[in-house]
Every structure is written in C-alpha cells, then in structure tokens.
C-alpha cells in the first residue's frame, strides 16, 4: 500500500511539469477502500484554500486550475493529495488511517461524530485490542489501556466480574458502575454473588461469583469500545450514565461481497503463588504435633519444628511423614485452558450488509471441576428499503454455562480459603484419599468444620449457572429530506438465569437429618431480567454559509424488571439425589422488582466554519423510584471546542490543536425500587400455636429505614481539555482536567442497631472529585523495517467528602466492612477512608499487653489508616514493528492507596505467617512493650493465642499495606503471513499472535498476596480483604485469524 502511495505521489510530481494551468471543473467520486461512497469528504485546493465537500453519494465538483493539487481529507482516513495534471474526473479511494479510531467517536445515542466537534474527553480502543490478547471477561483486557479508567477483575475464576470506575468514585453508594451500552442501547451489568447480587438467599451457603453482563459478549464481535468519561458525554444517556458510559460497537458487515473469517484463540492459565509462608514448624496446635488418630488441626501450623524422620498421625487416622509440603498451589490447582473459535460470515452491497458470527468458547478453570462454556451468535445488519428509509439492527444471543464456579469470600466449601490456610505439612494425597468416612459422611479435617476437605468440595458440591440472553435492537430511520431525519428504535435486553447448587449429604457443619432422611440441601433459582427501551429521535442539520446547526430531539421510555423464583430444600429421602421433590423441608421464595424512567431530551450543535463548535443539551428524566413531587428532574449541558490550529497560523511542528470545555449536570435516582415505604414479609412457613393449629408469622422485613421523600441525586461536572498533534502527528497529547460535585446523594447510612434497623436512606451526601488525565502517544522511530510507538496514559484522581448529614456534627458514616476493617466516609477526607483497630500504646508509643495473659490489647476506637482509592493509575504500551513482526507490551500501574491485606490475618492466626516464628523456639512470646500498669511487660503468652488475638480483637494494623502495583500486564508478538499466501487463492489473509496476560508483577507492597487479587465488587468494600479468592493466573497462548 505504501509503495503504491509513493508511486502515486511520484507520478503526480512528474506530471505537473507538463500541464499548463487553466481553470476547469473537476468532478469525481470518493470512496473508501471497500468501495463505499464517502459523504462529507473535505476537498480542498491546496494552492487557494478553497474547498467543497462530497455529497451523500460521494460525488463532488470543484473549480480549480488544471494543475492544482487537491487534498482530500476525511476523519478516520489518511489525507490524500492529488495533483490534477489535466484530469477532469478524479475518483479517489481513501485509505483508513490505522489510528483513526481516535478521530471518529461514537457518542451518545450511537451518533457518530468527528472528534474535533467534541467538548469532552473520550477514550477509544479498537476491537483488535480486545480480541487478540484476550481475557475471559472482555473488559479485563482493557485494564491500563484507557486513561482515567480503572478496571479490576475479581479473583473468582473464568467468569470473574469486573469493576470499572471512571474518574474515581463519585457517590457513596456501593456501585459507581458506568453505563454499558451496546450499539446504542443499555445493557444490564448486574453482578451476581459477592455482595453485589440481587435477591440472593440469606443464610444459604453460596458465595460464588455468578459473573456480570460483559461475559455475554464475544470479543471477536467488537468493532470498538469507546469510553465517554464525563457527565457531559452522558447528558443524553441520562441518569445511569453519571459515572460515564462504556460504549461497545459491534461489527456490522461491509459492502464488499461475501467474506468468511475464522478466528481461533487458545490460552492456558497458570495459578500464581505469592505466598511466602513459614515452613519450619508444621501442623499442630499450641506447639504440639498430631500424634494420635483423627486430629482436627488441618488448618493450624502451630506444631513442632520439622526434624528429619518425624511422623504425624492425621485426620484420616493414618501415619504420614511430618515434613513441609511446598508449592501448595501447584499441587492443587490445574492448568486452566481457554479455547475460542469464531466463524464470521458477512456480505453486502450498496443496499445493505450483514454480518453473522458464531462462536464457541470453552474455559477450563484452574479448579478441576470448573468449566465455563459460552456460545454466542451475533447478527448485525443494515438495509436500505428505499432511498429514504433504512432499517438496521443488532442481535446478540448468548448461551452461557458456568459449571462449578468456586466459592469465594467465605469458609464453607471455599476451596481457595482452605488451600491458603492449610497446614504447611498436610500431604495432598491424604486429603485426596480420605474424603469420606465409611458411613458416607465427610471426613472432618479441622475443628473449624467449615474448613472442609477441598477434594470433598470438588467432588460432592455442585453448582450450575446457565444463562440464555438475547440482547438487541432494531431501528428504522427515515431521511425525510436532505436535512431532516427521524428514527425510531426498540431495544431489549432479556435473560433467564438458572442456578442450582447443593450442600452435599454428610457435610459435617450441618445438623444430622431427622430419622429416615439424609442431610444436605439443594437450591434452585431462576431469575428473569428484562430491560426494554423505546426511543425516538428527530434530527435536523442545516448549513448556512459558515454556520452549521445540528438539532436532535428525542425521547426514551425505559422499563426494567427482575423476577426471582427460588426453592431450597433441606434433608433428602433418597441419598445422592438432589431435586426439589426429594427434599423434606421446602422453603420457597419469590420477589419482583420493577422500575421505569421516562425521558425527553434535545441537543443543539452550532458550528462555525471548521474550527468552532458549541453543543447544548437538555434532558428531563422522570424516575418511578422517587417521591412523586421530586421524581422529575431537568438537567443541562453545554460544551464547546475550538480547533485553534485551523484558526491561527501555528508553528510548523503543530499539526493540530484543540481546546475544549464542558459543563454538565446529571440527575440520578440511584436507589432500589420500593425504598419509599416500609414493607412486610410473611414467613414461608406457618408456626404452631399451643393447640397445634398453625398460624402465620410475619413482620417488617427490612433492615433499612425507608425514605418516602427521596429526591434525585445531582452531579455537576466541569472539564477542560487540550489536544495536540505535533511533529507530523508523531506526537499526540490529550490532557483533561475535571471537577465534579455530587450532591443530594442517596445513601444507606449505617445507624445504631438499637434503632431496630442497620441503615437509613438519607439524601444529603455531597462529595467532590477532581482529576487530571493524560494520554501521550509518540513514535520515536519510524523506518521502513523498524518502528516504535509509545502510548502512555495516566490519571491523577482525588476526592473529598463535603457533607454527610443535615447537622454539622454529622461528619462520619460507616459504609462497609467487618471484623475490625471498616470503610467510612469522613467530611474533609477523600472518599473511602480505611479504618481499623490499632494495638493499644502508651503515651511513649510502647505497645501495651495484658499483665495476666500477655496478649496484646487494643484501642477501643478504630483509627484512620489510609484511603482506599488509587490516586494515580495508568499504563504504558510499547509497540514495535520489526520487519513485519509486531511486538507489543503493556505495563500498568495503580498507586497511592492503602488496603488491609487481611489474607495475612488468616496466615497469622493459623501459624503460617513468618511473623509467627517469633517465640517458637522458646515456646512462648513476651510482647515487647509495657503492661496496663506501665511496667515493662514480662508476661509470657502462649504462642497460638498471642497470634490469634489480633483477629479476635479486629486489630489489622500489621496488615495495612500500600495497595499499589506495577505490572507487566500484556505481551504479544504477531505476524501477518498474508504476503506468503498469494498462491493460495481462497485465503485472503492470515495473522497470528502469541500472547501473554498478567505476565509479571514488577512491584508490589503486600505480603503473601497480589494486591489486585480480591473478591469485593462493592465500592464500600474496596481495599478490604480477608478470605483469599482464587489465585491470580498468568495466561499464555496464541490467536490465529484467517480470512477467506
């Protein structure tokens, strides 16, 4: 291609010597490389600066001197200059600019706009960035690639949910998730399990991560992802977009005839072990090694010092060597594999096109019973019915089956918890060989019965999550005349999610069943989710000399409902048969939740020439969830951009310069339906009165004090930005600064238990977020056979809690936590203050120990120990092309926050942490410090209770760490083999890539864990860790793409 271009320019250069100048009318057609006509292409006479644009069919006509040079420019395409040299008809084929995605932006409601018209910050990545080096949840791949966007993935296996936060955390609510939009239509991203689920059963043993909405999408179908960062960008998406919008555009066919594409991706996952435990003293409690049959010390390493030849008798009653067992993760977790095959068929002509893809993805988790299978069918089409009327649509069907997602963030059946805390001399063979006692009950390993044999959990517990999801929209557009169009659209996101799981027969922590039954339980859940959006849009644009006006008017009606049916049964007639019918006691549940938002909106964009743009929007939302007199809210936005490089003469090294500014307000309900009134629940089962007649039981079924007067929360956000392209566009810079106030926040403030409730809905919180975002691209080297491109993005975010209650004394609320680990909001501090109990110290700073027991004491009031939200985050991508070999690496970082790495607390209280070596040789610990009377502490404490005490008292100060990291996130090496295939006619292209993900931690501060490896999706639990989730994995594999 490059050669062709070079040749062309050379040719025009030669020709110009032979042509005499005279004014002629030049006409022609401009098309893209796929032969599609391009409308609106700028055609400019280089010498005079005069110009025109192409019409809807790509045709243009311009008067120019016969030896003039015409410059064709169009967003998303490389500029093309053509020396006329006498030709009267010049047809031009324009070539896509590989970096073009930054230049056309899909904005609210799916409207494509030139980037230069936007007054707010966006960030875009191409579909390739997601499909080449992929993760099972497509969103995780984007970590570190978008400035100001912070993405974390839960440590919960193949379906791990992702948490995306754009410009920090604005409200005190537990979810500050951006709105996910697929092809212009919102998509549900509810996370099930992990504290984020809805309608989950309380008291039931189930704590898996049921995944989120993203997992329904096949990365191969993604054309591009654009993130609209500020409130401005989302003024037209309304309330749910207050935390930004992630816009996914899927591929639609193109008009170039039949095309078939095949893509294969295969990767393997290996568990990474960051534990650095002690392997000097083995299993046992209080300094004693197990020597008589059936000890229950499987998760305690407070035993004796390992000596050669020592033996131990274990929970199975058998004799085993008393020796360290290293590499626990390698011994237990298998190598995970992912295989995705996608076949795409597309076709198109001038009247329309379609693209149909089918994929199958099989993900074998690192737990040997965990498999995630996903099948997707994606259809995108567009069709012109006549000259004015066109129809287009997108439909995505996914069938997801997650078999045995691991239990995390708990103890019961939670394999990662047991593997992490397992005594350091426990042979895995012993556990594998002895899962069941002769009577069929579980073989108990630990007196904490819920730390059960991981092989028993693998083999006897099951869980199935199946989801069928149909997501799509159809729109009809009518071009009434040249400047006016109207569009109507219907969209729906619907899924049915089936889930069932058991507690196995003979599980020790549950009671024996009544005579004639066998214990255990079984739960069957069905959730049905539906979100329907109807919208219409009327658009008009007019250009009068230098002024342009673009008007849009629209309305949207959103309805969303969630239904939940569930039955749990306890104890069974027939052993091993887990069905509802087989159960003894049955406990049914049903809930339904509905909400609606109606909206009317309009926007007006004014442009002056090609360098000044002003956009004004207004939107009114009506929320069903809020008080009748407060449910309507009108909010405006105004944005502007100024391309100063087109107005003023710039130094030659500046190719493009733009200033932008924006102000926007957004309102949001941000509260669950039915929060306005107190509701009662009727117990599932009747209760006998003294004469044996059964009577109903019921009562107030909430712990949240309702609030009938809820008003919408309001966000107001201002931002300014600067974009520069310099040195022949080899350096690009995009800077933004934003300032955001969120007020009238609706939050569930923790209140005194003695009020009868745990939380109260209040409507007064106010907070500020501000930050700086930067994206810098530069290409230090560009030669024929070697090029080096760098893309650096970084963000600085900070926040402040401004107001929490109606009185000035309301300065603190607790929003989450437990076990002495608390997240609070404190007036004057950044959002998300981390608190824990500290060890008691005297005035001189000496630690105080109890005189009698020698155990450490604590302060009664928890202390502030840091903030949970990162101040700095970003990534650096280096891409090299060496003789056609493309090498790319991504390093990302997150800095400036604290966490409680509570997994260490479990390592401590179970004798695995190296800290517990202190005193082992002596057999006691004397805490360094004083006792209550002020004298030097001389009291000997037994080792085990000494190290168990911090957990009992909730003192986590030893485990407050910097949660920052630098990671080598991604590596890929790719090569395009197409040029070797010219002899094989039916193959149009082959590309292959070797990829690696989560390659290396370059720097971290936490002990015994990867700071990212947590399983708390809620913003009110960020930075809190206790039960370790599944270990993180390193992914290595390849991606192969063949086009026919």
């Amino acid at each position: 291609m490059k050669k062709k271009l070079l040749f062309l320019s050379f040719f025009t250069l030669v020709c110009q010597f032979f042509v005499l100048a005279q004014t002629v009318t030049i006409s022609g057609k401009v098309t893209g490389s796929n032969k599609d006509p391009l409308a609106g292409v700028n055609v400019q006479i280089s010498e005079s600066g005069q110009g025109t644009i192409t019409d809807a069919n790509g045709n243009y006509a311009i008067k120019a001197s016969s030896n003039a040079t015409l410059i064709f420019s169009y967003v998303g395409y490389l500029d093309k200059s053509i020396k006329l040299s006498g030709a009267k008809e010049v047809n031009v084929v324009m070539t896509n600019d590989p970096k073009s995605l930054q230049d056309v932006v899909v904005t609210a409601l799916g409207i494509k706009k030139e980037a230069k018209r936007l007054g707010f910050a966006t960030a875009t990545v191409s579909g390739d960035a997601m499909s080449t080096n992929r993760t099972s949840n497509p969103m995780s791949t984007l970590q570190g690639k978008l400035s100001g966007v912070n993405i974390s993935t839960m440590g919960t296996g193949p379906t791990g949910s992702t948490k995306i936060r754009i410009r920090g955390q604005s409200s005190f609510n537990s979810v500050n998730q951006p709105l996910i939009v697929v092809n212009g239509v919102p998509m549900d991203n509810t996370t099930y399990g992990l504290g984020g689920g809805i309608g989950a059963r309380s008291g039931q043993v189930n704590s898996s991560d049921g995944g989120d909405g993203f997992s329904s999408i096949n990365p191969d179908d993604i054309e591009s992802i654009t993130v609209l960062k500020g409130a401005t960008a989302s003024a037209l998406y309304g309330s749910r977009a207050k935390d930004g919008v992630v816009m996914i555009t899927t591929k639609k066919g193109s008009g170039k005839g039949i095309g078939i594409e095949y893509n294969a991706n295969y990767t393997t996952d290996k568990a990474l072990d960051f534990t650095d435990f002690q392997y000097e003293y083995g299993q046992g409690e209080r300094g004693v090694r197990p020597t008589s049959a059936y000890p229950q010390s499987a998760v305690w390493s407070f035993g004796e010092k390992f000596q050669p030849g020592m033996r131990q008798v274990l929970f199975d009653g058998e004799d085993w060597p008393y020796a360290p067992v290293f590499n626990r993760y390698d011994k237990f977790y298998r190598k995970g594999t992912n295989l995705t095959n996608t076949v795409t068929l597309s076709n198109g002509n001038e009247n329309g096109s379609f693209r149909l893809s089918m994929s199958n993805s099989e993900n074998q988790g690192i737990l040997s019973n965990n498999v995630f299978n996903k099948k997707t069918i994606n259809l995108g089409f567009s069709q012109n019915i006549n000259k004015a009327l066109s129809v287009q649509g997108n439909v995505n069907y996914s069938n997801e089956y997650n078999k045995n997602p691991p239990q995390v963030n708990t103890q019961d059946m939670a394999i990662p918890t047991v593997i992490y805390t397992l005594a350091n001399s426990m042979p895995f063979e012993a556990m594998q060989q002895n899962q069941l006692m002769p009577n069929g009950n579980e073989f108990v390993m630990a007196r904490f019965l819920v730390r059960n044999n991981p092989y028993f959990s693998l083999n006897k517990r099951f869980e199935n999550i199946k989801r069928d999801r149909l997501l799509g929209n159809i729109s009809i557009k009518y071009q009434i005349n040249k400047w006016l169009y109207a569009q109507g659209r219907v969209a729906q996101d619907y899924y049915a999610r089936y889930q069932d799981y058991n507690i196995p027969n003979g599980y020790a922590p549950i009671p024996a069943a009544p005579t004639g039954f066998i214990n255990g339980s079984y739960t069957q859940d069905l959730r049905r989710f539906r979100e329907r959006n109807y919208d219409f849009l009327i658009g008009a644009n007019k250009k009068i000399s230098d002024f342009g006006v673009d008007l849009t008017l629209g309305g949207n009606q959103m309805y969303r409902s969630t239904e939940y049916n569930s039955v749990t049964v306890q104890d069974f007639v027939q052993p091993g048969l887990f069905t509802i019918m087989n159960g003894r006691a049955k406990d049914p549940l049903y809930s339904k939740s509905e909400r609606g938002v109606n909206s009317l909106y309009g926007s007006a964009e004014f442009s002056y020439r090609t360098f000044l743009f002003l956009n004004v929007t207004a939107r009114n939302d009506w929320f069903s969830t809020l008080a009748a007199d407060a449910r309507s809210i009108l909010y405006p936005s105004v944005t502007g951009s100024f391309i100063f490089s087109e107005k003023f003469k710039m130094p030659s090294w500046i190719n493009y310069g733009k200033l932008r500014a924006a102000y926007a307000e957004v309102g949001d309900d941000n509260v669950a339906p039915y929060s306005n009134a107190l509701y009662f629940g009727v117990n599932n089962n009747l209760f006998p009165n003294p004469s044996g007649a059964t009577v109903p039981v019921g009562g107030i079924n909430t712990t949240l004090v309702p609030n009938p007067a809820l008003r919408p929360l309001r966000v107001s956000e201002s931002e300014v930005g600067l974009e520069l392209k310099m040195f022949r566009s080899r350096v690009g810079l995009d800077l933004s600064y934003f300032y955001k106030i969120t007020k009238d926040q609706i939050l569930a403030a923790q209140i005194s238990d003695a009020s009868g409730f745990t939380n109260k809905l209040i409507n007064i919180g106010e907070s500020m977020n501000k930050g700086l975002e930067m994206q810098l691209t530069f290409s230090p080297i560009r030669t024929k056979n070697f090029s080096w491109d760098v893309n650096l993005n970084g963000a600085y975010n900070t926040s402040k809690v401004l107001k929490l209650g109606s009185s000035p004394s309301d300065t603190v609320i607790s929003v989450g936590g437990g076990g002495g680990r608390t997240i609070k909001q404190v007036v004057g501090m950044p959002v998300g203050a981390l608190y824990t109990f500290l060890f008691r110290r005297d005035a001189k700073g000496n630690q105080v120990f109890d005189k009698a027991s020698g155990r450490p004491l604590r302060n009664d009031i928890p202390a502030y120990v840091g903030n949970i939200l990162p101040k700095y985050f970003g990534g650096i991508t280096n891409s090299f092309t060496i003789y056609g070999v493309q090498i790319s690496s991504l390093i990302d970082f997150r800095l400036g926050a604290k966490m409680i790495a509570g997994s260490n607390m479990n390592a401590l209280r179970h004798g695995l942490h190296k800290m517990t070596l202190n005193g082992r040789a002596e057999g006691f610990v004397i805490g360094k410090g004083v006792n209550q009377d002020g004298g030097v502490n001389t009291t000997k404490s037994d080792i085990q209770p000494f190290y168990e005490t911090p957990n009992v008292l909730g003192v986590n100060e030893d485990f407050v760490f910097n949660s920052g990291f630098w990671k080598l996130r991604q590596l890929s090496v790719g090569y395009d083999f197409t040029k070797y295939l010219s002899s094989i006619k039916f193959i149009k292209g082959i590309k292959a890539n070797l990829v690696a993900n989560n390659v290396l931690i370059l720097k971290k501060w936490t002990e015994n864990m990867d700071p990212e490896n947590v399983a708390n999706i809620s913003d009110n639990e960020t930075g809190l860790d206790f039960w370790t989730p599944l270990p993180p994995t390193r992914t290595i594999g390849f991606n192969l793409n063949i086009k026919f």
Partner: protein
C-alpha cells in the same frame, strides 16, 4: 409515500407514549409481592419467635459467655470461641444479643405497640406486646447495663437513628410499671386471637406470664432496692403467678423453626462444647435424676469422629464434666486424674433430648417462678410455705424434662425421692433455692447469668484459666458492640461515663451494691 405515512404515524404513536411522563409510576413503584401492612398479631408472632435465635452465630454469645460464666457448658478452644472459658474479651461474641433483640425482636414489638395502642379491639394484643417488650429489654439491660430504651427501635416510627442510652435504674423502674399495668389491663372479655403463637390467645395465661415476669423483674432488685422489690413482688403475687408447667412461656421449635443452639452444637461446633465440671458435679453429688436427661458421654473417645455409638452413654455414674480452666492442649493434664482418653471424652449436652434440633426453649417457667417465690417468702416479702414452694419449683423443672423428649422424662418416684432428700435448711435457703434456679434455668443463658450475679449462687470458684483478663472473679457484664462506637458514639460515651469502662468488669446497676 405509503411508507412515509406509516412512519409518521409510528412517530405520532411514540409521541403518545410519552404523553404521561410519569403515568403509572406510583403503581410501578409499589411492591407487589410484599404487603405494606400486616395483621399486628403476625408481627407479634415474629417478635416472639425471634427472641430465640434464628441462626448459628447468634447463639455464640450464649455458648461462649453466658453458659461459660455460670460454668454449665464450656469449650476448651480459643480464638473465635474464646470468652467465658478464658475470661477474655472477644468482641464478636459479645454482640449477638444486642443485635438480635433490637433488630429482630424490638423492631417488631415496638411496631405492634404503636399499631395497637389506639385500637379498642386490640387492647389485649397491645398489652401482650408491652409485656413482651419488657421481656426483651430485661435480657438486654441485664447483659449490657445502661442501654437505649425509651428511644430504642424507633428508627422507622420516629426516625431516631442514634437512640439515647437510659440508666438501668430508670429502665427497671419502667419495666416494673409496665408489667404491672399491662398485666392488669389484659382482659379475657375483650377480643383475642388464636393466631397468638405463645398462648393461642389465652389471656388468663398471658396474665400469669405477665405477673411471673414482674416477679422476676422485682427479684432482680433484691440488693439494690429491696423496698421496690418487695412492693412489686406483692403486686405480682396478688396478680396471679403461673400455676403449672402448662403456663410456661416456651418457644416450641419445629423441624422448620429449629432450636439454633442445638443446631450449632449438632453441626458446626459438634465436638467443641462440653458440660462443665461444677454443673455435672452438682447434679451428680445430689443424685439428681436430671443428669441422666441432660448429659451424655462418649466413653473413651479420642476425637470428634469417635463421638458416636457404641461409646455413647447417659449413665449418670460415668458422666464427667470438663474441669474449668483448661485449653485444648493443657486439658491433657486432666486425663490421668479423671480417667479420660481425650478432651472428647468429657460429658456433653445430650443432643437427642434437651438439645435436639427441635427441642423447646423456655423463656420463663413455672419452675423458675416457684423458686423465686420461695426466695420472696424466705425474705418475708410474701406469705407462704417456702419449702413447699421450693419443692414445687424443683418438681416442675423435673417434669419439664419430658417436654424435651420422652427419653428425658423422669419417673415420678425419682422426682419424689429427690424432693424428699432436698429440704430447705435454715440459713442455707437462699443458696439452696438459687442453686436449684441455676439448674432449672439451664440453657436459658441470660437468665442464669443474671440470677447468678444477683444472688451470688451457686458459689462457684473462679475459673482458674491462666491469663484471665478480668479484675474480679467473674465477668460482670458484656461490652457494647463495636458498631455503637461508630454509629452512636456520643450517647455511648455518656453511658460509659455513668456506668464505668466498657469492659467485662463494670457492674450493672442492680449488681452494684
């Protein structure tokens, strides 16, 4: 052109959709599954059911503190099970009573009172709720001392999210007044409901329960305010106390509404809790036939897995209580003395009788009432035959055994023999009566803990576990939950200022003299 018309009519249609931008929203925002109101009788039922615990962990305060402090049930294990066994502070085991009674019981009961106070057809339910509220608050204040009372459980009704703490003295005075008034106001001629799970709407029994609870409350003040105690004992006796076990206030657990102490001991904590030696010895030394109903031992068991047939026996002669003052390792020093094979070889509560998973749990019994009455007679606050009353109390509790399970039933001749052998002796009456109260209140954790502090009986010796973190011989109260320091700090601080440090040592008002 046709298409154009079609399209425009489509648009008009869309426009109509938006005409009422909030039409139907009130309806949409109404929960169609849960009701906005419920018969207060059913709400009252929930307040009664939830006064016994509804999940595993809520029972840990009883298991780890109450039962251990009065030396009836003990665990040798520490960490999350520590508490009364080592005399140390374990914040997670000092909160369940607070959370459960405010969140589950009082939330419902205070609502019932509010809903029924002006309803002439519901005066009986209204007064029942007042009595039940007193029952719940006694447990709370006996455990913690000064607590939110007047402003409590009004998070919804009055929007109070930081309730003030009231002094225990004021709380008790109000409880006495309330119980007296509410019991008197119950009227069998007024409407009542068979939907009542406690007494099936039997107002006569409710009345007896009210006055018996008044007796319990009055007797709490024996040391701090004998005059008031005497006054209210007289009122309670005059009002009419429970007459038989049929009057007992009991939670009749079912296979669906299980006894969670039992569930926890049967399941998660199966091999971890044992009958304490002082309790077993008391029963054994007095040839108490209840030992056979309560206790079980797995002779020679060396592990939790060994705690099964054929080792299982309830033969009273081989029962051995776990001595106080040991942990799971130091307990080995006791094996030679008692001839036990391991810690798993000590006696446990029988999980097929008194703590089977659907075993009843008693709030207040005829037996307890007779014993308190006997003490009141001894004190000269009311008239009667102290010895006979004392014996009725013992007899009632022995008969109660059959209600747990037929296997636990005690034969009439055995009861008679025991009663004959236990007569009140001059100068020792209070000890004898309260020792029996200790037995008769077994499993009723907060009541045994309160009465032990009030009466000083049984005369237990200090738990000798090395490293006790308390100042005196016994834990005197339990500290407030940590959550209060976060959500209600100002009020909490004023309570601490009044009552003393928020630890295991400060004494509650009625125990402060």
């Amino acid at each position: 052109m046709k298409l154009k018309k079609l399209f425009i009519s489509g648009l008009v249609l869309l426009g109509f959709m938006f005409q009422g931008c909030e039409k139907g929203f009130d309806n949409l925002n109404t929960n169609r599954v849960d009701p906005v109101s419920l018969d207060p009788q059913f709400v009252m039922n929930k307040g009664i059911i939830d006064a016994t615990y509804r999940d595993n962990f809520a029972t840990l305060q009883l298991l780890c503190y109450d039962f251990g402090i009065v030396q009836q049930v003990i665990t040798p294990f520490g960490s999350s099970l520590s508490g009364g066994n080592y005399n140390i502070f374990n914040p997670s085991n000092t909160t369940p009573i607070w959370v459960n009674f405010y969140q589950s019981v009082l939330k419902q009961v205070v609502y019932v009172i509010d809903k029924t106070k002006a309803d002439q057809n519901k005066t009986n339910l209204y007064n029942e709720a007042r009595i039940w509220k007193c029952y719940a608050f006694m447990i709370l204040t006996d455990t913690y001392g000064d607590i939110p009372y007047n402003e409590a459980a009004k998070g919804f009704l009055e929007g109070i999210s930081k309730p003030k703490y009231d002094k225990q003295e004021l709380i008790y005075k109000d409880i006495l007044k309330e119980l007296d008034e509410a019991s008197a106001a119950l009227d069998a001629s007024k409407p009542t409901s068979v939907g009542d799970i406690l007494y099936g709407g039997n107002i006569v029994r409710w009345k007896k329960f009210g006055y018996s609870l008044l007796l319990r409350a009055a007797m709490r003040l024996t040391r701090i305010d004998p005059a008031a105690a005497q006054t209210y004992v007289k009122k309670a006796v005059a009002g009419g106390l429970m007459q038989s076990n049929a009057d007992n206030s009991v939670m009749r657990h079912t296979s669906l509404y299980q006894n969670w102490i039992a569930v926890h001991l049967t399941a998660r904590e199966k091999a971890n809790f044992y009958l304490a030696k002082p309790f077993v010895d008391f029963l054994k030394n007095n040839n108490d036939p209840r030992l056979q109903s309560i206790s079980v031992r797995h002779v020679g068991a060396k592990s939790g897995a060994d705690q099964a047939a054929p080792r299982t026996t309830n033969d009273p002669t081989v029962q051995i209580g776990m001595p106080m003052g040991y942990d799971d390792v130091s307990i080995k020093n006791t094996f030679a003395t008692y001839g036990t094979a391991s810690l798993y070889d000590y006696s446990q509560v029988n999980l097929t009788t008194i703590l089977k998973t659907d075993a009843p749990e008693y709030h207040l019994t005829y037996g307890q009432t007779q014993l308190l009455l006997a003490e009141a007679i001894v004190r000269g606050w009311t008239t009667g035959d102290a010895d006979a009353t004392y014996k009725l109390g013992i007899r009632a509790h022995m008969l109660q055994m059959a209600e747990y399970d037929i296997k636990a039933a005690i034969a009439a001749d055995k009861i008679q023999a025991y009663v004959d052998a236990n007569t009140l002796q001059a100068g020792k009456q209070l000890e004898q009566i309260n020792n029996q109260y200790w037995v008769a209140s077994f499993i009723n954790g907060s009541e045994t803990f309160a009465n032990f502090r009030r009466s000083g009986f049984p005369a237990l010796t200090k738990n000798p576990y090395p490293g006790s973190e308390i100042k005196g011989n016994f834990i005197s109260r339990l500290p407030y939950p940590d959550s209060e320091t976060i959500t209600n700090q100002e009020n909490l601080n004023s309570a601490i200022k009044n009552q003393g440090p928020n630890d295991l040592n400060s004494k509650v008002w009625w125990d402060s003299k």
